[in-house]
Amino acid sequence: MSDPANYTLPNPGPRPEGEEEELLRIWARPKGWRIISAVNNTVIGIFYLGIAFLFFLMAGVLGLLIRTQLAVPENDFLSQDLYNQIFTVHGTTMMFLFAVPAVEALGVMLLPQMLAARDLPFPRLSAFAIWAYVVGGLVFFSTIFYDLAPDGGWFMYTPLTLKEVSPGDNADFWLLGIGFIEISAIAGAVEIVVGTLKTRPPGMSLAKMPIFAWAMLIFAAMIVFAFPAVILGTMLLEIERSFGWPFFTAALGGDPLLWQHLFWFFGHPEVYIIFLPAAGLVSMIVATMARRPLIGHDLIVVALIGTGFFSFGLWVHHMFTTGIPSLSLAFFSAASMAVAIPSGIQVFSWIATMAASKEKFRITTPSLFVLGFLFIFTVGGLTGVMVALVPVDFQVHDTYFVVAHFHYVLIGGMVFPLFATFYYWLPMASRNMLSERVGRWVFGLMFVGFHVAFFPMHITGLRGMPRRVWTYPGDLGWDTLNMISTVGAYVFAAGVLLFVIDLVRRFRPVITGPGGPENPWGAGTLEWLPNDVYSTRSIPFVTSREPLWDQPNLAKEVQDGHHFLPNAPTGGRETIVTSAIEGKPQYIIRMPGPGFAHVIAAVFMAAFFLLLTVKMVTIALACGVIAIGACLVWTWGLDKGPEKGEVDIGGGISLPTYQSGSSSHPWWAMVVLILVGASLYLAYVFSYLYLWIVSPEVWSPQGSPPLPDAFWPIACAGLILAGGAAVFGAGKLLPEPGRRGAGTPLLLLIGAAFLAGAVALNIWSHWQTGLRPTDNAYGAMVYMASVLDAQLVAAVVILLLVAVARHLTGRLDRVRRVVFENAGLLSAYAAAQMLFGLLLVHGFPRVAG
């Protein structure tokens, strides 16, 4: 395609002495135990993936315990109570602590390498997300050892999980532990969205982006829209458990099905959140092993986007047996089947690419896992079509047929690609590769064990065995099938064990030195460029989708520093930011290095949530304050300002080292965060209207006190608008660099006070009508709007106060203004959300009633 003559090297001349040494010094990894302060993606990516894999092993052991209990009928190996805890923790850990973190870890580890960025745009944010997950996840998992583990199943249906039926702390551990891990997932998603859109190498337009980056971009976008629904769900459930606001209690106008809607609105996309990155990995491995670009590349991208889109229209197919009207059944049945089409596109693209291999498709261990994936996922997809057929689902729903189906989809669709990835991308993390010979045994045991374990479950389910039963009678024709499944589970586990043994023997982490073998598979993408702690020596100019295939001298050119940014002109960590679509260089990010503040913030935030769970409120609050303090310390050093001026990156391009406004990466991150907030609020609006449809009789004015007089919402709206205007005005009054003014801080303080005042006034207006949140579902929903507003405004107030402090210390002015812009964006969103909330809560009952 493009030969080297088509581009001129950005830095053709020889590089000065000592330049690489400087890069090595700047990007040096902390030594010894201080490695926990590291933020670089190559280090924390290994921690992240390692811990996720540890959770896979631990939850896998729980799976073996389940299989051991079910091997024979009327077994008493596990008690009923322990069994119920074990299957809950098995499912919860696999979904929340293994699957999502594992793919996010792959994103953290691989994306910067694939994009030849020196790091992700917010290194400390991803490190924070990881440490929070490590601490929170380990504590959550450990509850199984002292009989405190949740026992309501991984989807925690109400009313089973309400206080009356489940009075212990077990369910709270699920709610707070998982809610908190979701927040960590969202932090990672912000990182990945901004990373893929803004830190690609010069020349890499969206069309030239590797397919895995596409998959991760869609993955992260799906997290942004899907996770808030379950975060709202966990908030509502925890509030009902702790304070008795009856969101899910039918007797007071709530509805247990509201939980199912919120949970599955997240839970179904969740399946594709796990699958899409895995599909992206498979696409990359297939292309490499075929030694040629993918056939149907563009269709695959469309398929990934289509899957992401469709997956939000399927959630009701988990609720076919709840008695919802048949028209909705038909709609969701059709949508559930439609989502099979993007998967079909991908499967046949891979097959065509394999057939089109230069010479023959190479059968390596990664290829075996890919082929295993292809078969298992196809079968799982077809049983998915079966359960999408409403009448068939009436029979097989909540039986072992479904257990078989989702293990085919999840183990086939995610675990097999993950193992392919382990073998394929190990050089990113280890100096040694794994054994190909042992790898074949690992694959063989896992593949055979998988089918022996899970295929019979289809029949067990059809013969009537429901899910989540700790024992069963011996005369129903289930015993032989269960014994076969148990044997298969142990064979599968033997394969995983063999992998772990090989890993222990050969894994030599690159934490202590340079990377593994250079491009052992002859791949075409940038992660296989020669690299060291600083990533690549220079950042390549990219002219195609497989640069290593199409630009034959690229590795040497990059290594010799002939491409962009071969040095560290600002004297610190930095990478190039490019435009979101075209990949045109825009500016240089100056990135933070190792630190402890984010680690402390993560650990104490985890402590805050977990101590709240066991009702040690005072200590929890203290931990929360420490966590916020640590966040402030961590962020104070950011927004360094334009002091370094412009720098030359080669190719005659000179870039600024400071950027504000809509092309800056903090602006993008804030926009993503606002989308998260808006999704959360939309989930609330849905819940409000849903409960009104279910129980209009408790709504004001018939079933509850009349709404406050129109004066109150109008006064609130006035405060909100005045507060927003004050913040806007503060921006206009920002002084020239080096100067300070009284106007800006005063207006910022006024803005904060007005916004907080509006929240308080709104709460008071409802309180004085006599309405209480514990009265009925209507009261609970009315006050819930204020809870969401208060939570948002608390964040706004903190940001505004930080802006005031930075202005007073000379760190915020007309040019150095990123902190203000972020606070301003969030204030604007808060004002919009609150105004919409007033319209809904004060207006809707007036119209509907």
Binding site: G323, V390, F394, R463, G464, D475
Partner: protein
């Protein structure tokens, strides 16, 4: 390839020969029969698609280069990935919707007296409507007339359960605050088994019951008998059992119509002796099982809401068991 096909045939054929009383593959109801046909259709379609995909992969990997060249092209993606699924899925979807329509028509034709089943932790309250508008309270066993679609109203006053009698039809959830209506039509007389399909905490695994489909005239007679108050104890032991039953406060939770026992917390025991099982199909129904249950129920069915009566002597237990067993 051949082994694979053989294996899949073997696996699929295996269940057809032998299914238990809770198997969806042995349909004895109208809905179950229709779903069975749909299920096997989609199963064979799936087998065909699997064989197609595996064959294509085999050709892509090991086929002669002429064959490989044919499938190394975009048409495979457009035809295999788009056209084929669109056609096959649309046909299956239409078939599924037709089955749903047939079910809806059957529901509309269910005009006889219905039955209400209320999910409890962890047992079933079964309330039969009679033609005269009165109701008959029973528990932990469902009887149905063969050949008549019966409207089953499903409710719960605690957590979510799901009623599933696989030989008769699909499952439907029992959700607090709602009444879901399921229409069942048994096509032949016989005994099958139902089980709670939605995880409902604690003893979810042990929440089942037998479903007895009877010829309509037998059903009418049975319902007539079920509506009567409890029979008098037939011997001295049973007589003593009734006294002990009442003295020990069993009536606070259980009803035995015709006695002072009128509790509504536990299952109605008026005709408990005539049921096929105890404790929601946890134990067989005999004297020994009654005695074991009363003394040791927390081991037999952990967390169930009945306290164990360890204070009763063997003699007392035998007497109560004799009384309850005689309530036919």
């Amino acid at each position: 390839m051949r082994t694979l096909r053989l294996a899949s045939l073997l696996f699929l054929a295996l269940p057809a020969g032998c299914g238990g009383v809770q198997s969806a593959l042995v349909p004895r109801g109208a809905e179950a029969t229709e779903i069975d046909a749909l299920f096997w259709t989609v199963t064979w379609v799936s087998v065909a698609v699997t064989i197609l995909v595996v064959s294509f992969v085999a050709i892509a990997l090991w086929g002669p280069s002429r064959w490989r060249n044919i499938i190394a092209d975009h048409w495979v993606v457009t035809v295999g990935g788009i056209a084929l699924p669109v056609v096959v899925l649309s046909a299956l979807l239409a078939y599924g919707l037709i089955v749903m329509q047939v079910g809806a028509a059957r529901s509309a034709s269910a005009d006889g007296p219905g039955i209400t089943i209320v999910g409890k932790r962890w047992w079933w309250e079964v309330i039969y409507d009679r033609p005269d508008g009165s109701t008959v309270m029973s528990a932990n066993e469902l009887r149905l007339p063969v050949g008549k679609p019966v409207e089953i109203r499903l409710e719960s006053d605690n957590v979510i359960h799901s009623f599933w009698a696989p030989q008769l039809g699909g499952k439907l959830d029992m959700i607090p605050g709602r009444t879901n209506v399921l229409t069942l039509e048994a096509t032949e007389a016989g005994i099958s088994r139902a089980q709670c399909a939605e995880y409902c905490g604690g003893a979810h695994a042990l929440m089942s019951m037998f479903v007895v489909a009877m010829p309509p005239e037998e059903y009418e007679a049975w319902l007539e008998a079920e509506a009567r108050p409890a029979s008098e104890p037939s011997d001295e032991a049973a007589e003593r059992g009734r006294t002990l039953f009442l003295e020990n406060g069993c009536g606070a939770c259980h009803t035995v119509r015709g006695t002072d026992a009128a509790g509504v917390v536990g299952p109605d025991l008026t005709h408990v002796g005539s049921r096929r099982s105890l404790a929601a199909a946890t134990l067989p129904n005999d004297r020994d099982a009654f005695a074991r249950w009363i003394r040791d129920n927390q081991h037999i069915k952990p967390d169930n809401l009945m306290p164990p009566y360890g204070n009763l002597t063997d003699g007392e237990l035998t007497a109560i068991a004799a009384y309850l067993d005689g309530l036919e």
